[in-house]
Structures are given as structure tokens and as C-alpha cells.
Amino acid sequence: MILTIAYKEFRSLFSIPSTWLIMGALQFIFAWFFFARLDIFLQVQSQLAQLANAPGATLAVAAPLFGTIALILMMLIPIFTMRLIAEERRNQTLTLLMSAPVSDIHIVVGKFIGLMLFLLLIIASCMLMVLTLAAGTQLDTGLLFTNALGLILLAASYTALGLYISSLTKQPVVAAIGALAIFFGLWLADVSAVDNNNTWRAFAPTSHFQNFNTGLLNSTDLMFFLLFCTVFLLLTIRQLYNNRIYS
């Protein structure tokens, strides 16, 4: 049942023209960043070669690119999560799910997975771009792996939070702006922190992504992302249940 809903969400994303437009634009932006990075790397390569233990192409090109993607995802995901529940509520299609023999857990997890499939596609397309480097140099697969994992977890946590915001309102635009504002707040908490042990910083998904970005696979970060997703998915399920009582 979860997969039925997930598949429907995934399919319906592709029946909207703007999805294709966004995917195209993203691909263009990624490629641009990728080439800019690659260009700089090629210019300084000769100087780097004189250093002992010089950073390779993966660290110099791929890691910053993934950092950029993390930022873009932050701005992108609210656009997709706003549709998930708020728009269904506005179009009164949520009734179909509410009166169907599926539980609230199925609905929420289905929608979450549906959007995650789409985000995986975006991350994978980016991954493929980086993998083209393998034609000219040796790649650091470990670093690539942690970056990919980090991106996926980051996207998942943004999706879970965006889904929750979406379940709070009837207006998709409010859901999008609300989610974006919170993502931005969390990001600011991360970048404005003076020291690494700032408490607020610990709440920001981006700060936990930092470790993945540098190739560090830390169980604390893994747990953070898992907890973050679970908490917001549970809150969304609760919100849908409340919806049957109070709306």
C-alpha cells in the first residue's frame, strides 16, 4: 500500500511540466558548478602536484559540488513538499486517501518515499556527472560514498520536515514558505555558530552533513538524521489523525 502511494506520487511529479523544467535547470546548474570547479582544479593542478599528500580531484571538485547541491536541495525541497499534503487538502483530494482502506502511516510514509525516489534521481544524476572524472583520474570512492549517503540523508530530513509543514496548512504556498524559512533558520544556526559545540548548531542538518562532506562517517550524524526523519514523520502522522478529529 505504501508503494502504491509512493509510485503515484513519483509518477504524478512527472506529469507536471515544472518538474521537468526544474530538473533541466538543476542539471544545468550542477554542470556549470562542476566545470567551474574542474577548471580551477586544472589550473592549480601543477602547483598542487608539488605538495606532499595533495588533494585529489574528488576532494577538490566533487566535495564542493556536493556541498552546493546540499544548499540547492534546501531551497528546492519545499517546492516539492508543499504539494504533498497541503495541495491535496486544498484540492480536496485528501478525502480519497482518508476514506480509503489505508492507514495514516501508509499515506505519510508513501508520500515520503515517493518524493525521496525523485530526489534520489536528482542526486544520482549528479553522481553520474562526477563519475565522469573516472575517465581521467583515480577517484576516492570512500569520499564519494559518504557524500552520496550524506546527501540522501540530508534530503530525507528536509523532506520529512517539509512534509510536516505541509500537513499543517491548507495553502501550498504557506507550506513552501514556512518550510523554506525553517530550513534557512537551521542553516543560519549552522553557519553563524562561532564554535563547533554550539547547541543550536547540533539541530541543523547541514552541520551534520559537513562531516559526510569531508568523508567522515560518524554514527552520531547517522543517528541524528534517522531521529530527525522519524520524529517529523511521526508528527505528520499525528497531524493527519488530528485532522480527522478537529477539521
Binding site: M1, T4, I5, K8, R11, S12, S15, I16, N91, Q92, T93, L94, T95, L96, L97, M98, S99, A100, P101, V102, S103, R244, I245, S247
Partner: protein, 312 residues
Amino acid sequence: MSVTAPITLSARNLIRRFGQREVIHGVSLELRHGEVLGLLGHNGAGKSTTLQMLTGALLPHSGEIEICGFDLIRQSQKAKAQTGFLPETPPLYREMSVNDFLLFAAKLHRIPRAQIADALTETKRRCGLQDSGKKIIGTLSKGYQQRVGIAQAIIHQPEVIILDEPTVGLDPSQIRDIRALIRELGNMHSVILSTHLLGEVESICDRVEIMHHGRLIYGDSSTKMQQYGSQSGFIVTLLAPPALSELQAIADVQQVDPLSTTQFRILHAVNTNPSVVLLALAAQHGWQAEQLVPLQTRLEDVFMQITQDEKL
């Protein structure tokens, strides 16, 4: 519909509040297999809220709902698998094609994979959507969207079909089609529909419940409702009428009111009907009887009368 048919839906003492305001005050309903029940009421009487509660989209604050023996709150998935719901606004994903949408609805209602294709063809045939399968729902006309909405509610052959104002916004020929469809569905399933069109009740419902300010104030078969507060009698047209007193003299006639020079309204007791005698006399005396129409109260009048009575 027989009285022995199994009960498919029963609701007891439903109470629903919105904030502090109680909008449904203890509604109880029962529906049997093969029955079409019309829920009638003014705008804002609580029809939609009641129907939403029967489908589990809204939870009642108190009361019980049982569908085919399954409790809607405790065994919600089993109970919901037996219901099909068309809300006031059909819940359609406008960007999907009719086929995709109905397939999604079929899977959502747990139709076994092997039967999905058959269910899809059958439902499209019943709702007259054979040629619209590949069309995008957003591009369909209102009438066709309504059909897709109904198709979505019946694709899994539910025991109980709940339709919230199914014919609103349709043109007359579409209304006729949809009514025929509902009548057909009523033979094999149980149907509840809400409406404020009295003609709809007259033409398709076996039973009527009238809802007023969140209460059910009247429930009976729709034929009985038509007789509510009515008088037995008929209107007779005699082209060469006799004197009023002669008509009054006929046995069992209680009252004669001349409506025009040739038309008379004749009232009589419920169980005696003087029309045969009158026609015989007319033939005998050459009154030139032209037509004889039994008095029929219009449902509108009955409805107004019932809701008025409640206000007093």
C-alpha cells in the same frame, strides 16, 4: 428490497462538534443491502458531515459506525474496504489520466492484482467512460469528471456506496444517466446519497431521511413520504358538468371544490374511492368525462411541511 436483507451499514448516536459548536446531534442510520437511501436537507443541515463520518474521513466525537459488521474505528481498514465514497467535490488528481487514476483507486482499495484490469474495464463501461481512458482528468468536462468520481467510488465493488450530491452541476441528460446508474448500483449494493433535489429522491430512492439542523427528523419510504399529510382525492374534468349538488350526492364523496367550470376536485376517505361510481354516472348522464387525475402532493410541499413542523 426486502426487510430481511442484511444490514450493511449502521450508525448509532453520532455526535460531531466543530470547535464548541455541536453540528450533529445524535444521528442514527441503518441501511440494508440493495437499498437506496436519500439524505435530504437544506444547505448546512449536516448532510456532508454525516456522510464524511460514515466513510471515516472525519471521526465522530461519540457514537458507533458499523459497516458489514466491522467497526469503523477499531477495524477501520476492513470497514473502509467495503465503502466507496464520492465527496461533494470529486477527489480527482487533475494531472492524471482517467486510466491511471482509476488504477490508483483500484490498488488503494486493495483489489487483487489479477482482477484490476477487469475491474477497470467493467467500471468504465458502467460509467460510460470507455472512450475517455487516456484523457487527462483536468481536461474533462464537469459531467465526465463527476463520472470519474463515481467510477472511483465503485471500482472495488463496495457493499456500501456513499454519494454526496452526485448530480450537482450536471446537465439534464447527464443527470438522467447518473440516476440510472445509481438505480442500477442500488440493486446490488447499498447506496446512501445526499441531495437537496427532491426530484432525485422521488426517482431513485427507496427510503428517505430528512435532516434538519443536525438531526434526523423524518424517515420513511419515499412513497410514504409523498403521502405525508396528503388528502385522498382526484381532479376530474367534465366537459358537460352537472350541478355541484349532484356530484356531492355521490356515495363516499366528502367534498367537491370547483376549480373551473369544467374541473372539480373531489376529496374522499382513504379507503373508499368513488371514482368508479362517478365515471359510471358520467357515462350514464352524458357529463363527458375527459380526465381523472389522482391528487398527488408534490414532494416539495411535503418537505416544506415536515421541516416547518419541526420549527414549531
